[in-house]
């Protein structure tokens, strides 16, 4: 049994496709395109969900102000200081 090429002891000029399961190209293309579309759907849903959560969290004025101080800190020490003050 062979999934594609079964021997190299032949006239190599006759060899065409060398990948396993030749004849399944259309099926592979459909699977590939579907995977791409599904990936975008999953990613956008996840991103939207995450942004809604973050938006809700930062709707708290104190939390947003603290987050802005941490994220604009130039050094880890500055961020740590803000982190300590908030905890």
């Amino acid at each position: 049994m062979s999934t594609g090429v079964s021997t190299w002891n032949m006239n190599l000029l006759d060899i065409g496709p060398m990948y396993p399961f030749p004849g399944t190209e259309m099926l592979l293309a459909i699977i590939g395109i579907a995977t791409w579309v599904i990936w975008h759907i999953i990613q956008m849903k996840a991103e939207n969900r995450q942004l809604i959560e973050e938006e809700n969290r930062f709707s708290d004025k104190a939390e947003l102000a603290r987050a802005m101080r941490i994220s604009n800190a130039e050094t880890l020490n500055e961020a740590l200081k803000e982190h300590k003050q908030g905890s």
Binding site: L12, L13, D14, I15, G16, P17, M18, Y19, P22, G23, E25, M26, L28, A29, G32, I33, T35, W36, W39, H40, Q43, M44, E47, N48, Q50, L51, E54, E55, F58, S59, L64, A67, M68, I70, S71, N72, A73, E74, L76, A79, L80, H83
Partner: protein, 470 residues
């Protein structure tokens, strides 16, 4: 593959394009460094991931439909003819996989197809694909710090695997309708990559709007400085390096133009993408001289500002790229210098006048620089043949001007604007204001940042407990 000279030509050509791909990979590395450096600290990882994921998404879609468009749509379609057959470029073609070039299995292919494309298809596809990444990556820089990743990736596919390759079919192919009817000439892609990407970015920016704080209440712009100028400049250095690969990828390394020229015998030469003769030496001279023209003028006009000097070096190359297969090196240098001035002045004029927040100057460097490059080639190369076919139009100023309009506006600005408009209407284009203010990294990687702080505290406690610090 049964005679040594023929095999050597084929395998050299295969290897040649492979090398260009490796070089062009550095363009993407450079864009990532450049964008991350230009981003404020609070958005670095978001910026990095936004551009990194261009690689897989544009790659798979360029496999699924981009490559076929290049060969299928050279006539428009329906401007100079219908849709062409391109059975070696469909995603279900056996030639889009490992192939030794023997007898075809699929009825749509001929023995000539398999023999000609088996060893070239993959590397030629990849060379075009790296241009696709570049087109998307140019847009990526302009929109940092406020666009949602998912929205950007859809826009990246739109330009990277659809609109830019349409323009390549039209104006960057030996038989594209723009070459036939307009005499369009754009050897190293001033228009077909740079103008379209700049125009697309501008279309997106119009809908997306500026970053919070970019403009004062009176409308004057604030300078949002790069958090790491060193990373920005190293990124631009890497883009220069990758640009070498970009340039040689625009050529066919060995091609017999004798028959097309009407000669009785063969004449083997390097050609541009239109299969018209040039030399690698010519483009090496012109690449370096146009880089120099851009850098020299950039340094003077920006008063030595590193960000703009580097950017205008790139703009100089872009401004001369349309005709860098034919220009004299000093012509290339002068065109690059003038282009650099146009780019610099236009960037700040558009920013002030229309309140466009182009975070890295991408619209200016690529868009206006590319537009200028296409137009100026129409004057300097006026009357040159645009291809080997004597029935096609000659290079001329009006054809190049119309070509620049098609690249920047028709295939760049309009799809970018419409794509962003639809995403905006769906409410998925821009990061919510609270999250933008908090910082995208803090929002996305909150736990990680808090862990970092906790780990630092734990280290301090451990050091104290061991008596290593007070």
């Amino acid at each position: 593959m049964d005679d040594q000279l023929g095999a050597l030509t084929v395998i050299f050509t295969e290897f040649y394009y492979w090398v260009t791909v490796v070089f062009m990979f550095l363009i993407h590395v450079g864009f990532c460094m450049y964008e991350v450096g230009a981003t404020r600290r609070k958005n670095m990882m978001h910026t990095l991931m936004k551009n990194t994921m261009v690689i897989p998404l544009v790659t798979v879609t360029f496999f699924y439909f981009g490559w076929w468009i290049y060969f299928g749509w050279t006539n428009g379609p329906f401007i100079t003819g219908g849709v062409n057959d391109a059975p070696w470029a469909t995603p279900w073609s056996e030639l889009m996989g490992t192939h030794m070039g023997g007898k075809p299995m699929q009825g749509t292919l001929t023995a000539d197809d398999t023999m000609g494309w088996a060893r070239i298809n993959g590397v030629f596809w990849a060379a075009f694909l790296l241009f696709s990444w570049t087109a998307a990556s140019i847009v990526s820089g302009a929109v940092i710090e406020r666009i949602r990743s998912g929205a950007f990736w859809l826009l990246a596919v739109l330009i990277g695997s659809f609109t830019w390759i349409i323009d390549a079919a039209w104006g960057w192919s030996p038989d594209g309708w723009m070459v036939q009817l307009l005499g369009y000439h754009d050897a190293y892609a001033s228009g077909v990559i740079h103008a379209i990407a700049g125009g697309f970015a501008l279309g997106v920016l119009v809908v997306l709007g500026p970053r919070i704080g970019k403009f004062r209440a009176d409308g004057t712009p604030r300078d949002i400085v790069p958090h790491n100028p060193w990373l920005v400049t190293i990124g631009l250095f890497l883009i220069y390096t990758g640009f070498w690969g970009f340039y040689v990828a625009c050529n066919i390394p060995i091609f017999d133009v004798g028959a097309a020229a009407g000669m009785e015998g063969s004449f083997f030469t390097t050609t541009n993408i239109y299969l018209a003769p040039t030399t690698t030496s010519a483009i090496t001279l012109n690449f370096l001289m146009s880089l120099s023209g851009g850098l020299m003028m950039g340094y003077v006009i920006s008063k030595g500002d590193a960000f703009w000097t580097y950017s205008l070096g790139l703009a100089g190359i872009i401004a001369a790229s349309s005709g860098n297969d034919l220009y004299h090196p000093i012509q290339a240098m002068i065109i690059a210098g003038v282009g650099a001035v146009v780019v610099y002045k236009m960037h700040f004029w558009v920013e002030r006048t229309f309140k466009i927040d182009d975070a890295v100057g991408a619209v200016a460097v690529h868009g206006y620089g590319g537009f200028f490059g296409v137009v100026i080639a129409g004057f300097v190369l006026w009357g040159y043949p645009a291809s080997m076919n004597p029935d096609y139009a000659l290079i001329n100023p009006m054809g190049q001007f119309l070509g620049a309009i098609i690249m920047f506006f028709v295939l760049g600005f309009v799809p970018g604007y419409l794509g962003a408009y639809v995403l905006n209407k769906m409410g998925v284009l821009r990061i919510p204001v609270h999250v933008e203010l908090a910082g995208l990294d803090l929002a996305e990687f909150h736990g990680r940042y808090m862990d970092e702080a906790d780990v630092f505290e734990a280290e301090l406690a451990e050091a104290k407990s061991r008596g290593l610090i007070d």
